[in-house]
């Protein structure tokens, strides 16, 4: 599980070894197809990427052009006039900066709290014996697939009673009950050799010391995956914020975007400009940490 990885940071290198966790043979010994087969695969890959990326390209293209330029064919692939004000105007018209700030605060705080809760619980469920351990774990895991719509009615009332409506905490706290991260953490700790923990105990360390100074330092891949996934889920989350946030100043980016849909209607330029800005932070995070995305998926998927 813990194959050492090189520390290169270029996009292609990182992406080139996304599944280092599971790679059986080192890359240089990899078997290669014949040139013809590779060539065919390359062509298919290029065509697929062109198709898959077209919506992204069209988003950027639309965001830079006046609607009139795009409504009649043939549309030039490159904008004739660069309309940067699609990117700047909405900041003045709408509290876009507030939405950005709310999204950042919610994502970051959620990451920190989720990490703390899931690492501790995941470790305890995997390595410590205590009463009802399996029953409690199963109970929690049974909520893995429960959609938010099952509990939204009472949970909304609860948020009202706690006076958390329109606050970042109203979005953050109820969503800490997230079984996926806990599951991921437990799977990771299960695979960790008991000898390490026993050795620490023989040195006289208590459970918390062991957890803090022996286990956590060995859990960096898990922590990285948890950080990335929690960040992504909270950053992109829509239904729950849509329910608890009704004040435009309290919106997160996705809720703000759906607000903008009705504001801009057929004026797609600024709408897509703001959509692009809203996903940009996520794309940057992905570009830098993609191997952890992949590892996180692989870890839960394989076990």
């Amino acid at each position: 599980m813990t194959t050492p990885r090189d520390s290169s940071t270029s996009l292609a290198d990182l992406a080139g070894e996304p599944t280092a966790v599971a790679v059986a043979a080192p890359a240089e010994g990899e078997a290669r197809d014949s040139r013809r087969v590779t060539g065919i695969r390359l062509v298919i890959a290029i065509v697929s990427v062109v198709v898959l990326m077209f919506p992204m390209y069209w988003m950027i293209r639309t965001s830079l052009a006046p609607t009139s330029e795009l409504s009649d064919l043939p549309v030039a692939l490159w904008p004739k006039n660069w309309l940067w004000h699609n990117y700047t105007d909405p900041w003045h018209q709408f509290p876009f900066a507030r939405w950005l700030k709310n999204s950042v605060v919610i994502a970051v705080v959620s990451v920190v709290l989720t990490l703390a809760i899931n690492l501790m619980a995941g470790y305890a469920f995997a390595k410590l014996r205590f009463p009802m351990r399996n029953a409690l774990f199963l109970l929690i895991i049974s909520t893995l697939m429960v959609p938010i719509q099952v509990i939204m009615v009472p949970q909304f009332q609860m948020v009202i009673d706690l006076h958390l409506l329109n606050s970042n905490w109203g979005v953050i706290i109820p969503r800490l009950a997230e079984a996926f991260g806990l599951f991921m953490a437990r799977q990771f700790f299960l695979a960790m050799p008991d000898e390490l923990i026993e050795a620490a105990k023989l040195d006289g360390a208590g459970h918390f010391r062991t957890f803090w100074s022996v286990v956590l330092p060995l859990s960096k891949p898990l922590i990285a995956s948890l950080v990335i996934f929690t960040f992504m889920w909270r950053w992109n989350e829509f239904v729950w914020p849509l329910i608890v946030l009704d004040d435009p100043n309290a919106y997160t980016l996705p809720v703000g975007l759906q607000f903008l849909i009705s504001q801009f209607s057929t004026n797609f330029g600024p709408l897509l400009a703001m959509s692009f800005l809203s996903i940009l932070p996520m794309l940057v995070v992905f570009a830098f940490f993609q191997k952890y995305f992949v590892e996180g998926v692989a870890r839960t998927g394989l076990k």
Binding site: Q157, I160, L165, P248, F259, S265, T266
Partner: protein
């Protein structure tokens, strides 16, 4: 000339109200209100102000509304005047139209609603029957009530107690792209109510448009979501009704209703109606019309300013009357402003509600936003509409064709559920040419009957 139109509009409104309350003789009530309108007109602002103390107010009240730029600006201007006259600050909060109901509902649930909010006549009873609105009986006596069109005053009362003020009314007519009409060789457009196209003539016009302007859809209705009931225009044009005279039974299983349904569906199947403009999705034809992808739309007068701004000098456009079949008919639109029961600054909120509907302020609002007033004393007033005043007479004349029965249906407390029945059932029928008229009738009848 427009003087006469407004008078005839009042006639309809007066008749409607009289039919609603059997005790009142229709011609009498209508005669009194127009004969006294001259005198109350000058006295109105002092009268309404005088009905309560004009003591200075303090604090802030929040008015939550949706609106075009012009509507928001008009609200803000009146709010500033209120601050100058009465001392209380009014914050105007603007939300998108298709979200405002959900947001207000949620804030009511959280015990944190705005002091006042703008609401369509059709939605007032939904709030009032859940106890969300303040009883304003103490602040608004019968003299105050008597200033407004009776039918619309009734729409803002719950069991006789006022919960808000009627603010304005609006209605639908047809807007068309003159360039497309020229291309299609359509030279004569009806300029009188009596000369409005029949359905057959209307379809012929659409066919011409379809042939001449293939890159655009000929037509689209404005019956999306909360406006789903605007389909009733078509129903009433065919001579149909939604409910019987007692408002107890659904009357959609009639030849007239079937004709209206088939006709509407046929516009889609013949490619005469913009295919994606249906009922359930917030795709509003007035947002597409300026892009010239639709040649002609059924639209509300309150959209004139935003249409004018979006179209600019791109093309010439005009308005004409809704087509007619057995009868002419158009919908009762318009909005009230209501005060919430949990308002934090109820006194100032009530005063602002009254201030909004003084003769001067109502006149100002209507002029700026091209809608029609609902005060008896403004019936004969000359309104200087700020945008495209040339278009308004058509809407004013069209307004006289609001069917009595439709106005009654529109303002009843089951109406939100009736509208929802349309939202839930019409798409299936309109978007699928093999869907049968009988199945949509039974779907609508079942859902509406359940709501009564």
């Amino acid at each position: 000339m427009s003087h006469l139109d407004r008078r005839s509009f009042l006639l309809t409104a007066g008749l409607t109200a009289a039919a609603g309350s059997l005790a009142v003789c229709s011609s009498g009530s209508n005669g009194t209100s127009s004969s006294t309108s001259g005198s109350t007109g000058s006295a109105s602002s002092s009268a309404s102000g005088g009905s309560s103390t004009a003591a200075p107010l303090s604090g802030t009240v929040t008015l939550t509304t949706w609106g075009s730029d012009q509507e928001v600006a008009a609200f803000k201007k009146i709010a500033a005047d209120f601050k100058a006259a009465r001392g209380a600050e009014v914050t105007v909060e603007v939300l998108p139209y298709d979200q405002i109901r959900t947001v207000i509902d949620r804030r009511l649930q959280a015990g944190n609603p705005p002091d006042l909010f703008r609401v369509s006549y059709t939605d007032v009873s939904g709030y009032a029957s859940n106890g969300a609105l303040a009883d304003l009986s103490d602040a608004m006596d019968s003299a105050f009530a008597g200033q407004f069109f009776p039918a619309l005053w009734n729409a803002v009362t719950m069991d006789g107690a006022p919960v808000g003020v009627p603010h304005h009314t609006d209605t639908s007519a047809i807007a068309y792209n003159k360039a497309h009409f020229a291309k299609a060789g359509i030279t004569s457009v009806p300029d009188t109510l009596e000369g409005a196209w029949t359905w057959d003539e209307f379809v012929a016009v659409l066919e011409k448009l379809k042939g001449a302007v293939p890159e655009a859809s000929p037509f689209a209705f404005n019956y999306q979501l909360y406006g789903a009931y605007r389909w009733f225009n078509t129903l009433f044009q065919a001579g149909g009704t939604v409910l019987d005279a007692d408002l107890k039974n659904v009357t959609l299983n009639t030849d007239q209703a079937k004709k209206a349904l088939s006709w509407t569906q046929s516009l889609y199947t013949k490619g005469l109606h913009a295919p994606s403009v249906l009922v359930k999705r917030p795709t509003y034809p007035d947002e597409i019309f300026p892009t010239q992808k639709i040649s002609m739309i059924q639209t509300g007068d309150f959209l004139i300013p935003s249409l004018d701004a979006a179209i600019g000098k791109k093309f010439d456009w005009g308005v004409t009357y809704l087509p007619r079949d057995a009868a002419a008919a158009t919908d009762l639109g318009g909005n009230a402003v209501v005060v919430t029961d949990q308002a934090k600054n109820k006194e100032a909120a009530i005063e602002f509600a009254k201030f909004l509907v003084t003769a001067d302020n109502m006149k100002y609002f209507c002029e700026q936003t091209t809608v029609l007033p609902v005060r008896n004393d403004l019936v004969d007033a000359k309104l200087d509409f700020a945008t495209r005043p040339d278009l308004m007479p058509v809407f004013q004349k069209q307004a006289t064709t609001m069917p009595d029965a439709l106005v009654k249906t529109t303002t009843m407390s089951a109406f939100p559920a009736i509208n929802q029945a349309l939202v839930d059932n019409m798409d299936q029928f309109l978007s699928n040419s093999s869907a049968s008229v009988d199945s949509v009738i039974s779907g609508l009848t079942g859902a509406i009957q359940k709501a009564l």
